[in-house]
Symmetry: C2
Subunit: 698 residues, 2 copies
């Protein structure tokens, strides 16, 4: 039965890709507008293409090296021979997701601006269609990779269930590595350009945002595409695939190699595609730029999809595993609800319709220092609700799935909760990814000197994008935490599979575990520090370059001469690519090094520590950043002295600090916690055989 | 034998107190200087006294309530009948330590300023003597409490070893509760006054620091005494006592109730008193205000003490436990070395003689936002070295003490490492506590209009105080982490003592443990958020009041009229006392609530999570704060445009954000992680009997 079921996965992957293609065709049919708009859009395209080309060529070197390393290990029988190939495909599809997203986003920005000249609904349709291309490409490629590998491993190579999931976890590792490169590199690019453009343009020269006289303005717009689009695409590809395969792996562990338990998460994700397609037909709006109406239009689509999946998955669980296994359905539901709940807390803490961000705006009255203190406090405090939600979700999913009797079933339940949370990714990502498109459209409208009402419309779309992005981030972080937990369980399961005799003492009071926990807990801090410092350094370089252009190129300010945009793009490209390498290498080397020094048990501590603080730091940083951003916008809307007042200046400082928080460090940590586990799983065999502490203590 | 040995503890406690009394007498003999100096000093005394009086009356209510709660539990046989009394004495002595420190500090500030009129060495002697009074009072009262209770429990009540340490852990909890009140309340007071005074005085009105025209200037000076002195005294009393009794408790567990293992940490601490007394005779300097010379003078004392203890403890371990137990000596040595090493990393990251702070000062060139990003990155990065140092220290202490064979011995070794680290607290605290005295002396010199060279000398002393404070903080944080680990072990031991049949599953993959870990990891974030927000709120109140006084009281700025200092003091007092209650209650309620809901195992996760992130956050926040402070001072010394430039303004923003980081939130987290464990230990019996999850799952 389960073999036919998995055909569903393949079919749904094709449906997703087909739907993405239709959406893309619909977008590309429309006009890009005036010549000036085309010219600006082309500059952005050129910059984004150049960046990605160079990024992929660096990443290719990394993948080539890893391929050789894994190949040697496979040759030495430490790994399955499929592993190196699976690793490559994961990386390839993750990169491809980002690439397609970027292509469509850069093709849609001018089109969205142009559509906004006719009306708001037209603009929304184009931007949302562009977002859908990205959303459905991500889920489509994810399911394609999973189902094709499944067919190869099961029917061509006749692998057993555990071997199949083992190989699949490797393409998870490939996808995560690629995602980390894309998120870190793109995140540094976009924020360096943004911060640099703001610091000199807005603060020093006093010109508005997206002004064509700012030499960093094109770099800023390129950044939106390579960071917020390509980075996010690769990132969510990784989350999606990671949650499905970790659930599949635990299903195999929980049901002694039963293929049905392995198929369930795949089919659940497939049904999610259908749910998302249906939901996306319901996204439309009138001509009111009122945020609530617009938000309702988007929410209608996501809510319908969620309800659809909530209903269908009951029958799915019943059909695949049997009626007595209803507990797993509750686990899936718990995941769905937890995702929505975390999304809501994120919105509560970061939207200016609620108290926290309004209070934060108040602190601008006493200067930059108090708004910084307030924002940091807000972000730290905002970790409480998500932690409690995830805690309840884990406990419910675990115990309702029978974890009290069979621990592995409980863990399988937790993993299914993560899949449940991400099942409607097709549409949630569409509502999320359309934001940067609208942002870019606004930039083009400004630079091309379109009518003010166009900018108003793009601003309305953009502002809405901030809210949906906040919700989307909540989902991504929640799913990352659950997936990371599932992956830790998979790691332990892998150890038991490799050596059933191995006595695993993962008690917290085992000093090796405890030290692992300490080191793991430290890793997200290191990551946050490295990425923030990278943004700081790159932004300083941009500041110096922009100041130089203002000084040396005469006539920029009165519009008689064009600044050298390409040079800023180039600077950001070089800086971000240079800075992205170290974090990724750390993420791969540290768990292996800790394992080789302190053994396989230390890694369990490391993963648990990294997941706990990673989750906390990611929420803290995302929400602080989001709240600062919206507190600034709230002031710009006319409170606390409005734009240009001293309070606004303080709020800009907050927003600038928040930029790397929310768009570089936070999302990167999200990927980190999963990559660490996947690396540990892939290298488990090596570590069990060779480790220093085992050698010393015996 | 061990009974006679503990007499040493009693004798050494008297030596410490006697030494403190002699030092106090020496300070009080000297003159307070001119009438104006006396008047200013009296205002500070009055404010500090009023604050402490009100603080103690609030705290008294808390202790009364807790006494009743514990009394009822003791009556219901859930606790030992000594527990309520032990709890009270711990709180009393902790508060007394802070009180004595505050008294001597406020008595010495004018005297130090006056002595600086004659020469630098005289000033150093007075300030250092005042610090010594505090240092030796803390260790003296700590050992007194321990030895007196030991005599009562052992010889009057004839308790067994495990019962004795059980009761002693309760006074640890009393001390920690008091310390948390003192640290949080004092920390909010001092930083609200400091931030408020700076924001209006320095930034808005443009008058220098410590200017008598600033209405918040007296509050600022009071804050140094109630926060940096009284708060720190209570805090370190708690650390000191906590490390000794947790080691004693683990000694009992490791050696099956052998009193010798229990006595060892007490005697080690006692020898530390002698070492500190000897060391303090070597602190003297010439007339050069050169930082290196001054630092050398202080370091000579602390280094000599450390060497002394390093040598003597070898013979101590040999004599008390026997020559074959040399491993514990190595553990003690590991603790000593780790303390020094962490102190050095703290200095490296926060002193402007090294690269990190210099680089941070560079970021002021591009504004407030970049210096904030830079400082946060620096602080996060600075967690790596201490984590690795503590990790190595724990592994060495554990395995060298025989942990591979007897886990409890290994944990006893870890606890002894903490005692080793804190053994010379008498002198390290003296070098630390003298800082605020010098700071106050500078304020008085400024306000009393003394000659510029006096201020130069007090500044030299003060600046040195920043460096020693950084080192001291490193010690305090390192010892807190080790003590917290020891306390977790004590908690588990307590569970086993209460119910030897209880099957304790503290595997990380037990979902209850894992969720406990998540919640525990979140607690330090909550604490940091609460305390920062409290400072923010209180500081805003001060800002508004200071602005009001400048506006309404005519003639402040030209010196014709005196501002209403008392009102600012009163405002800070009220605000800080109001804000200090919630954090302490959370620290006590959360572990009990988690235990009652999810059982005794969840608490192990909670404690481990809180210790890991608490350690990281405490280091991060202390070091970010210290680096911002010193980057500002570095700029003031004439780099990057010097005082008053735009870079300096950016650096002031950094410093202001850093204030609550390093002096409120960071130290409070340090206490939190130990208080959580102690609360868990005291309530272990209750939680084992009643908990929801056990009830549901069976």
């Amino acid at each position: 039965m389960e073999n036919y079921l998995v055909i569903i996965t393949f079919v749904c992957s094709l449906i997703a890709i087909g739907f993405a293609a239709i959406m893309a065709a619909r977008v590309l049919r429309t006009s890009e507008g005036t010549d000036l708009m085309k010219k600006i859009s082309n500059s952005i395209k050129r910059g984004a293409n150049a960046y990605l080309k160079r990024q992929y060529s660096i990443v290719a070197v990394f993948f080539a090296v890893m391929f050789v390393v894994l190949g040697v290990m496979a040759f030495a029988k430490l790994l399955d021979p499929c592993v190196p190939f699976a690793f490559i495909t994961g990386g390839f599809f993750s990169g491809l997701s980002g690439f397609v997203g970027m292509k469509i986003a850069t093709a849609s920005n001018a089109r969205t601006a142009n559509a906004c000249r006719t009306g708001l609904n037209k603009g929304l349709r184009i931007a949302f269609s562009a977002g859908s291309v990205m959303g459905f490409t991500v889920v489509g490629l994810g399911l394609l990779d999973i189902s094709v590998w499944y067919f190869i491993l099961r029917f061509l190579l006749h692998y057993e269930a555990a071997q199949i999931t083992g190989a699949m976890l490797t393409f998870g590792m490939g996808a995560s590595s690629m995602a980390l490169f894309a998120r870190v590199g793109g995140g540094i690019f976009t924020k360096a350009a943004d911060v640099g453009a703001d610091l000199v343009g807005k603060v020093e020269a006093g010109i508005p945002e997206d002004d064509e006289r700012n030499p960093a303005v094109i770099a800023d717009n390129v950044g939106d595409n390579v960071g917020d689009v390509a980075g996010m695409g690769a990132d969510l590809y990784e989350s999606y695939v990671g949650s499905v395969i970790s659930a599949a792996a635990l299903g195999v562990a929980a049901f002694a190699g039963d293929f049905r338990a392995m198929a369930l998460p795949m089919i659940l994700a497939s049904i999610g595609v259908i749910a998302s397609v249906i939901g996306s037909f319901f996204v439309r709006t009138g001509e009111s730029t009122d945020q609530k109406t617009l938000l309702k239009a988007l929410r209608r689509g996501t809510n319908l999809s969620a309800i659809f999946i909530a209903v269908i998955s009951y029958f799915l669980v019943r059909f695949v595993l049997g009626a007595e296994m209803w507990g797993f359905y509750v686990a899936i539901l718990a995941g769905l609800i937890a995702g929505v709940a975390i999304g809501f807390t994120t919105e509560y803490y970061t939207s200016d319709t609620y108290k926290p961000t309004k209070n934060l705006a108040d602190t601008s009255e006493t200067g930059s220092a108090t708004i910084i203190i307030g924002g940091l406090g807000l972000g730290m405090m905002s970790t409480v609700a998500p932690i409690l939600i995830i805690s309840v979700c884990v406990l419910v999913a675990y115990f309702v799935s029978g974890g009290a009797t069979f621990a592995t079933r409980g863990l399988y339940g937790v993993a299914l909760a993560a899949v449940g949370m991400l099942s409607t990714l097709g549409i949630t990502l569409a509502t999320d990814a359309y934001g940067p498109v609208a942002d870019n459209a606004g930039g083009i409208a400004q630079m091309a000197g379109l009518e003010p009402e166009v900018r108003e419309r793009t601003d309305a779309l953009d502002s809405l994008g901030n809210t949906t992005a906040a919700t989307g981030k909540g989902f991504a972080i929640g799913a990352a935490a659950l997936t990371a937990l599932a992956l830790i369980a998979s790691y332990i399961d892998k150890l038991r599979t490799i050596d059933p005799e191995f006595h695993l003492d993962i008690s917290i009071m085992n000093p090796v575990v405890l030290i692992g926990l300490f080191i793991g807990a430290c890793l997200p801090f290191v990551f946050a520090a490295l990425t923030m410092q990278s943004v700081g350094r790159a932004a300083q370089a941009v500041v110096i370059e922009v100041r130089r252009q203002f000084r040396e190129i005469v006539g920029i300010m009165d519009g008689k001469n064009e600044p050298d945009y390409a040079r800023c793009v180039d600077l950001c490209t070089k800086a971000s690519l240079r800075e992205m390498v170290l974090p990724t290498i750390i993420a791969i080397v540290v768990p292996v090094a800790v394992g080789l020094l302190m053994g396989a048990e230390a890694i369990v501590g490391l993963l648990a520590g990294a997941t706990a603080t990673g989750f906390l730091l990611a929420i803290f940083m995302s929400n602080s950043g989001g709240a600062w951003d919206n507190a600034k916008k709230y002031i710009e809307s006319g409170t606390h002295g409005g734009k240009g007042g001293s309070q606004h200046k303080s709020a800009v400082v907050g927003d600038t600090v928040g930029d790397p928080f929310k768009d570089t460090s936070g999302p990167a940590i999200n990927i980190l916690i999963k990559l660490l586990s996947m690396v540990s799983i892939v290298f488990a065999g090596l570590i069990l055989q060779f480790n220093l502490i085992g050698f010393i203590i015996g």
